[in-house]
């Protein structure tokens, strides 16, 4: 699986260089396409890991909402990084920064839920003492 990844990456880079001389617009589209193909190859193995992780969390007795939010945050973080790096490749770093800012805001909104839950747990502990 790993070698497939390396092969696709190298072929993609070669195509991008080829297209950059002939038609620069296609080079950006080729980088996006290589990114997508690489991620699709990766994502299949990732889903197995996520399923195993959910089973561990269920056994550990944590409230269900926390792990789902953490998974969401990981997903959002990954997608933001993916699209920001494509924008940087295409040469517009300012748009990439805007995307990263947006991703950070969304993650912050999600994290607020966990922080309030943490505060509740702490306050309830303080009361019992």
């Amino acid at each position: 699986m790993l070698f497939k990844l390396f092969a696709i990456g190298i072929i993609g880079v070669i195509l991008v260089l080829l297209l950059r001389t002939a038609k620069p617009e296609f080079a950006v589209l080729a980088t996006i396409a290589t990114g997508i193909v690489l991620v699709i190859v990766l994502v299949n193995s990732l889903s197995g890991a996520v399923v195993a992780f959910t089973r561990i969390v269920e056994k550990s007795g944590l409230p269900e909402g926390i792990f789902a939010t953490i998974l969401k945050i990981i997903g959002i973080g990954y997608l933001t990084e993916y699209s920001a790096s494509i924008c940087e490749d295409a040469g517009c770093a300012s748009i990439a920064q805007k995307l990263q800012l947006g991703g950070k805001l969304v993650i912050f909104m999600l994290a607020i839920g966990i922080v309030t839950r943490l505060v509740d747990v702490v306050t309830s502990l303080a009361e019992t003492l």
């Binding site: 497939k4 092969a7 696709i8 072929i11 993609g12 195509l15 080829l18 297209l19 002939a22 038609k23 617009e25 296609f26 589209l29 080729a30 996006i32 396409a33 290589t34 997508i36 193909v37 991620v39 699709i40 190859v41 994502v43 990732l46 889903s47 996520v50 789902a68 998974l71 969401k72 990981i74 997903g75 959002i76 990954y78 997608l79």
Partner: protein, 65 residues
Amino acid sequence: MDFSILLKIAGIGILTAFISFILKKSDKDEIATFATLAGLILVILLIVDMLGGLFDTIKSIFALY
């Protein structure tokens, strides 16, 4: 599926470059721009379709609804 699409995109890119080069040489510049545009739109459609598929898979894995 996986990397045949890459070769397709590269093929379309080189073909459009070639066609627009020939059209420019036979001094039909406006048709050359149309040909490049057509090639570009074709590739963009392919990429948008793949991007949609990618976002759906990631949404389903990380439960990002």
